[in-house]
C-alpha cells in the first residue's frame, strides 16, 4: 500500500512495529518492511545521484545493514524514530558510495526544492512545523541546510556550488541549525 494512502502516524507505527520484529530476525516482517519503505528510500537516494544502478546498490546495502544492525535501533528514544533511523542509515550509505564514485546529481538550486518541501497544504504535522521554521530562518542558511540534507552535498561541494567561502558556508549551516532548533522547540 502506498504511504500516501495512510496517515503519517499509522504508516510510521507500521514501520516501527515491523522494525521491532526485524530486530528479532523475523524474516516475513523484513519483507513487509521492504515492501512498505523501499520505494521511499530508493527515491531518497535518487535525489542524491542520477545513477540508478548505484542507487539500487546503495539501497541493497542499506537493507542489508537494516537487517544486520536492527538491534541497534532503540525504540526507547521516542516515537517515530524507526523511519528516521532508516532514512539516516540509508543516507549515510548512499553518501559514502556517491562520494567514492563522484556520481553526484546536478541538483536544482533552491526554488524548486523549496516549492517541493515547503508545501503549505501539507497534512503531516512534523513537516508543517519544519516548513514553518525553515521559512523563518534567513535564505542562505536555509538553502545550505536543505541542499545538504536533501542532496547530500559535503560542505566543500556545496561551498563550490554556491561560490561561497567554506568558512561562510559552515557558519550559515551552524547558525541555521541553531535557529531551526530553537524554532522547533517553541
Amino acid at each position: 500500500m502506498s504511504s500516501d494512502l495512510l496517515s503519517s502516524s499509522t504508516w510510521k507505527q507500521q514501520v516501527e512495529s515491523l522494525l521491532g520484529q526485524v530486530r528479532l530476525h523475523h524474516q516475513p516482517a523484513f519483507e513487509k518492511l521492504y515492501q512498505l519503505t523501499s520505494g521511499k528510500l530508493y527515491a531518497l537516494i535518487l535525489k542524491m545521484t542520477p545513477d540508478r544502478e548505484l542507487a539500487a546498490d546503495a539501497l541493497q546495502e542499506s537493507y542489508t545493514k537494516i537487517w544486520r544492525q536492527a538491534e541497534r535501533y532503540r525504540s526507547d528514544l521516542g516515537e517515530d524514530w524507526a523511519w528516521a533511523w532508516m532514512c539516516q542509515l540509508t543516507r549515510n550509505t548512499a553518501i559514502d558510495r556517491i562520494r567514492q564514485t563522484g556520481r553526484r546529481r546536478e541538483s536544482p538550486l533552491e526554488d524548486s526544492l523549496l516549492d517541493h518541501a515547503l508545501d503549505e497544504s501539507d497534512h503531516w504535522d512534523e513537516r508543517r512545523d519544519l516548513n514553518r521554521c525553515l521559512q523563518s530562518i534567513k535564505p542562505e542558511p536555509r538553502q545550505a541546510i536543505m541542499l545538504t540534507y536533501v542532496y547530500g552535498f559535503s560542505n566543500a561541494e556545496l561551498a563550490e556550488k554556491l561560490n561561497t567561502p567554506l568558512g561562510t558556508l559552515k557558519s550559515w549551516i551552524r547558525r541555521g541549525l541553531k535557529e531551526l532548533q530553537q524554532c522547533l522547540q517553541n
Binding site: H25, Q27, R72, R74, I145, M146, Q181
Partner: protein
C-alpha cells in the same frame, strides 16, 4: 582565552555534542571524525539521543518524496546475500516457520527457555560471571527446539573472557569433529573464524580481539570444514543479555 579541551572533555561539552550530532545527521563530518563519532555512539546512549533528536527535526524534509519502485534485483540479491532465499513465506502460516525465522513469540519463548537453561547449566554463584552474550543455534532441519547454545562470559580482565558451548540434551547432538565456529560482523557481514568448535566444548578462553568479534557479531555460525564458504551446519543470532555498559 579558554583552555583547550582534551578529546574526552570535548565530547562531554553539550554544545559540541549537539553540534557533532547535527553534523552527523547532515552527513557533513569528515570520514575520520565520522568514524570516531560512530565509535562513540556505540557506548554513549545520551549521544545517541542527541542524534535521534536531530534526525527527528530534519527527516521530515524527506517525507515528501514521491516513491520510486526499485529494480526487482535488489530484493532478490538481498535475500540471496543474507541467506534468506527460502523466504517465500507469503502463503505459509508463520507458526510453521522453522526456528531460524525467529518469529516474535518464538524468539521470546526461546530466549526465556535459554535463560532458564543458562541458570540451570551455570548455577548462580557470586563467583561466577553472568552470561553476557548468548547465541541460540539451529540447523536447517526444521527441528522445533534449538540444538545448541553458545554463551560468552566477560572475564574480569582482558583475555579472561570465555565461551561455553552446550548441546540441548533433548535433541540428538551432532558430531562437532569437523566444525569451525565463525562470527559474522554486524557492521560488515565479514565472517571471522574462532577456530574448531571442539575446543569450545569445555571452556574456550577468548583473546581481547576475539571478545570484540563476539561482542560485535550479528550471528554465530558453525561451518563444516575451515573455509567460510563451507556448508553452514548451525546458525543463530548473537544476543546481548547484559546492559551495554557491562558488556
Amino acid at each position: 582565552m579558554p583552555a583547550k579541551l582534551n578529546p574526552a572533555q570535548r565530547y562531554k561539552n553539550p554544545a559540541i555534542r549537539s553540534h557533532l550530532a547535527s553534523q552527523y545527521v547532515l552527513a557533513t563530518l569528515s570520514n575520520r571524525v565520522k568514524r570516531r563519532f560512530e565509535t562513540l555512539l556505540k557506548t554513549d546512549p545520551e549521544l545517541e539521543r542527541e542524534v535521534y533528536q536531530w534526525q527527528n527535526r530534519l527527516h521530515a524534509m524527506n517525507d515528501n518524496l514521491k516513491e520510486q519502485s526499485p529494480p526487482e534485483r535488489v530484493w532478490s540479491e538481498l535475500t540471496q546475500n543474507l541467506g534468506l532465499s527460502e523466504l517465500e513465506v507469503k502463503h505459509e502460516s508463520w507458526w510453521q516457520r522453522s526456528w531460524r525465522s525467529l518469529s516474535l513469540w518464538q524468539s521470546a519463548t526461546a530466549l526465556l527457555a535459554i535463560i532458564t537453561l543458562s541458570f540451570a547449566l551455570w548455577p548462580i554463584d557470586p563467583q561466577v560471571q553472568p552470561v553476557n552474550y548468548l547465541a541460540v543455534l539451529q540447523s536447517d532441519n526444521n527441528v522445533q527446539e534449538p540444538e545448541l547454545v553458545i554463551a560468552a562470559y566477560k572475564g574480569a580482565k582482558p583475555g579472561e573472557s570465555h565461551l561455553h558451548l552446550q548441546w540441548n540434551d533433548r535433541v540428538e547432538s551432532s558430531s562437532t569433529s569437523n566444525l569451525t565456529l565463525w562470527t559474522v560482523s554486524r557492521d560488515t557481514g565479514e565472517q571471522v573464524s574462532l577456530g574448531p568448535v571442539s575446543t569450545a566444548e569445555t571452556t574456550r578462553l577468548l583473546t581481547p580481539n576475539e571478545w570484540q568479534l563476539v561482542k560485535n557479531s550479528a550471528e554465530l555460525l558453525l561451518i563444516e570444514g575451515d573455509s567460510p564458504d563451507g556448508p553452514i551446519r548451525f546458525r543463530g543470532p548473537c544476543l546481548q543479555l547484559n546492559p551495554w555498559n557491562q558488556a
